[in-house]
Structures are given as C-alpha cells and as structure tokens.
Symmetry: C2
Subunit: 253 residues, 2 copies
C-alpha cells in the first residue's frame, strides 16, 4: 500500500508503525476525532509505549495529528495553503496585502538584521509587527525591519505608536521604487512572543520566510515571517493562491 517499487530499505520499528498508523487514520478516523489513549493504541499495535510515542511524533510533524494537553491526540484537518507573496512589485502594506499591522517600535535590530540592512551596530530601525490570519486563525507573525533612511519623510508627531504608527511607516515606504525581492524559507523554532501569538509553545517547529526588499540598489526593508509548520503549507510561484488540499506527499510514503 502506497509504497513504490523503487528500492527496499529496512525501516526502524517506529517508522513502520507510523506508516501503519497513517493508513489507519485514512481508513478509520475522521478529522477532529480523538484517538484512543496511548496504552490502548500500544496494545492494539503490539508495540512499546516509547515506540508508539515516536510514531505519534512523526505524524504530528507531518501535520496528520494534533496533540494538546488536556484534550488528547486528534486527527488534524488538511494543512491550509497560504500564499507567500512573490509579486516582485508590491511593498508590504500595498492594497491586498494579507498582513495586518499590529505595532511599531523604534529599536536596535538583531546583529544579523543590521548586517543585511547595512545599518550601524547600535542604530535603531523601525520594527513593524504584523500578523496574518487565515479563516479566523492566526497562521503567521512577522517582524518587518525598516531603516530610517528608507522612510526619510516620516515625522515623529504623526501617530507615535501602535498600529497607526505601523501604517504610517508602511505608507511612507511606498514612496520608494521597489526593484525586486528575494525570498528564502527554512525550518526554525517559534520565539516566545511568536509562539504566544500563534497559540504554540516556544520552540515549536515553524517555517521562517525571510524576504529582502530591494530599492535604490540596497536592502530597503527586511521581513522575517514565522508560519505555523503544523497547519500551513506555503504556496508560491505562478498561481500562489491555489490551495492543494491533502497534498500528495502525504500519501507518498
């Protein structure tokens, strides 16, 4: 079932159990259903509790299961396809932007961000915090770093803080001509503040999308966006908004 005849590789016990459990999820359980407890499951499949837990962790990593303290383990709904903007000519805050500004502060960014922005080591930049909600659920949190030189006409008196300030900064940014953007995605772990916003524990696996916005020959803004890895699949390219429900890699094992 579901294996190709490409080659045969010996599998560890937890991995075999993961495959068997995955097939059981497809055939016997529906989305949202609570699984039997670990003792009963271990007995049913004739494995040690430790092996069962390893297999459950795998399926959680793959987004098949959700484990919540006090509730138990439930069958997860299919991941949601979330478009990662690849429109080369749109600044953050442009019309149709899926992100909502939450806050804005002036602060010294982390060293890696300062290096990418080519700002001085102790030079404060505008840090806009935004959040992205999809079907009523927070799916991503973003810190957007904007050097003062990218928004030279911004005045301090107009909207000194909060989301109004964030909007003012983004409005000023539109005055620069955007030359292009780079995107990168990698595995990361949720920082404490992001975790809280995304309703996860600190350290939960996340997909980190870093975007450099290029203008006047340099990096004019840098976005670090943290997406829930358990519920999101990121779509990009031609038709970035297409949702592929129940992606094929799910059955590819």
């Amino acid at each position: 079932m579901g294996t190709t005849q490409l080659e045969s590789v010996p599998e560890p016990k937890y991995w075999h159990l993961r495959t068997v459990l995955s097939e059981a999820l497809d055939s016997e359980f529906s989305v949202g259903e609570i699984l039997p407890n670990e003792r009963d499951l271990a007995a049913r499949f004739g494995v040690a509790r430790a092996t069962l837990r390893q297999a459950l962790e795998q399926l959680e990593l793959e987004g098949r299961l959700q484990r919540r303290r006090g509730v138990g383990t439930t069958v997860a709904p299919p991941r949601v396809g979330v478009a990662v903007g690849t429109d080369q000519h749109a600044w953050p805050g442009a019309p149709d932007d899926a992100w909502q500004p939450v806050d804005c502060v002036l602060a010294v960014p982390p060293a890696g961000v300062a290096a990418a922005l080519e700002t001085g080591a102790e030079e404060p930049v505008h840090i806009v915090r935004r959040s992205r909600v999809f079907h009523g659920q927070p799916v991503a949190a973003e810190l957007l770093y904007i050097p003062a030189s990218s928004v030279p006409d911004l005045t301090a008196i107009d909207a000194p803080s909060g989301s109004a300030r964030a909007r003012a900064v983004l409005r000023e940014l539109q005055h620069l001509e955007l030359e292009g953007r780079d995107n990168a995605v990698e595995l990361g772990s949720a920082r404490a503040d992001d975790a809280k916003e995304l309703d996860r524990l600190p350290g939960a696996p996340v997909l980190v999308v870093t975007t450099r916005f290029l203008a006047v020959g340099r990096t004019a803004a840098l976005s670090v966006a943290t997406y829930r890895a358990d519920t999101c699949r990121l779509t990009f390219g031609d038709s970035g908004s297409v949702e592929i429900h129940h992606g094929p890699e799910r059955q590819a094992s």
Copy 2:
C-alpha cells in the same frame, strides 16, 4: 541582547537556556567544534540534563547544532541557500537543471498523486527518481511522477531502466508546451528511502516541495522533492540563487 522591546513574555526554562546557549555559540565556539558533554554543559549552566537536552534539540531544529552518534554535538556550518526553481518555462531535465536522474520505474503512484494527475486508481505512471547534490553533499531527493499520456511517443525498447531510462522520459516531456507551475513547501519527515539517500534517520525533519507542472490544461507532471531541513534554506523568487549566509532569523531571537 538580541531581544526587541516589543513585548515581554515569560519563557520556559529550556527556551531561556536555548537563548543563552545560542549566544555562547556565537561568542565562544567556531563551526565544527565539538561541544562539551551534556553533564559538563548542564553543570556549567546550572540546569537539569533534561532541560539541557530540550535546549540542544531546539538548536538542532534551527540548524545551529549537529548531533551525531559517536561524534557528539558539533557547531553546524551556516545553512546552504538552495534555489527552488520558479522558472515558469522550464521542464525538469531542461539544460541547467540542478537535479541528476538516478532511476525510473513504471509503477502505481500513491492515491494523492493519482488524484492530482487525474490518472486511474491502479494506472501505473513513470516515476523518475532524481537527486540533488550541492558542494558534494546530497541535499535533496525527488520523485517525479509522469503519466504515460504526457510522454506518448516514448518507446519501451529504448533504455528500459535506470538513469538512461529517466533521461529518455524527461527528454520526451520537453515536447509538451509547459504552461506554468505551482510550488508549495511544507514541513515533513524523511521517508526511509529518502533518509538513506540524505544520510539522515527516517523521520528526520525535511522540507517537502511539491511542484505541479501544467500543460494542455492539466497537471502533466508532479514532483515531490525532499530537502534536508537541517542544512538547507530554500531560496525562491527574483534572484533565487542568492545565498544569504547566516540568515537574520538566526539572530532574531
């Protein structure tokens, strides 16, 4: 150090330790260096072994540390930026393709793949296995599913198997006019065969990139590519080949 003043959130102990350890890695250790053993590290930071292990797991997830049985825990080199093709007009196997064909079989694909390809439930398709090597290291493994209807002029007698067969299938594919492609990336776990090829244990976290190649109004081929999540960051968009060493999210916590 490295925290913004956006908001203050109480952190679990392992998360605080992760931050302290991360700073120690920056200031005291160099890439490839072996960390002191767990007992010594736990003593130095005044934490329980279990807390230490949780923090080390976080840093491994973030690609800062590598843990190998028999070697110990070493400081990982920066992740490698690997371009995920977003060239809308290139088939797999086009000149400059970074992937190397390894094998090709005719087999029934997993149900999810068959649904995406709109092939019959028990209809075999060409499954091309390819691998991607970067600086001498395998970084990704791919299964490329191609229905027989996408390569109608392929003959069985020419190159019956292996990489020659894979090349013959890809060559035939170029005859179709490519209309576009969709990409999606999500977190997954390495299947046993991929894990072996990528030198990981089955179930290790991977980034799964699914690409649908669209031609004659339908999905003419489907690629499921598995990238090592510990060593890779995937770049896409404008200048997909740009490598951002030591990405800013690493210091963003």
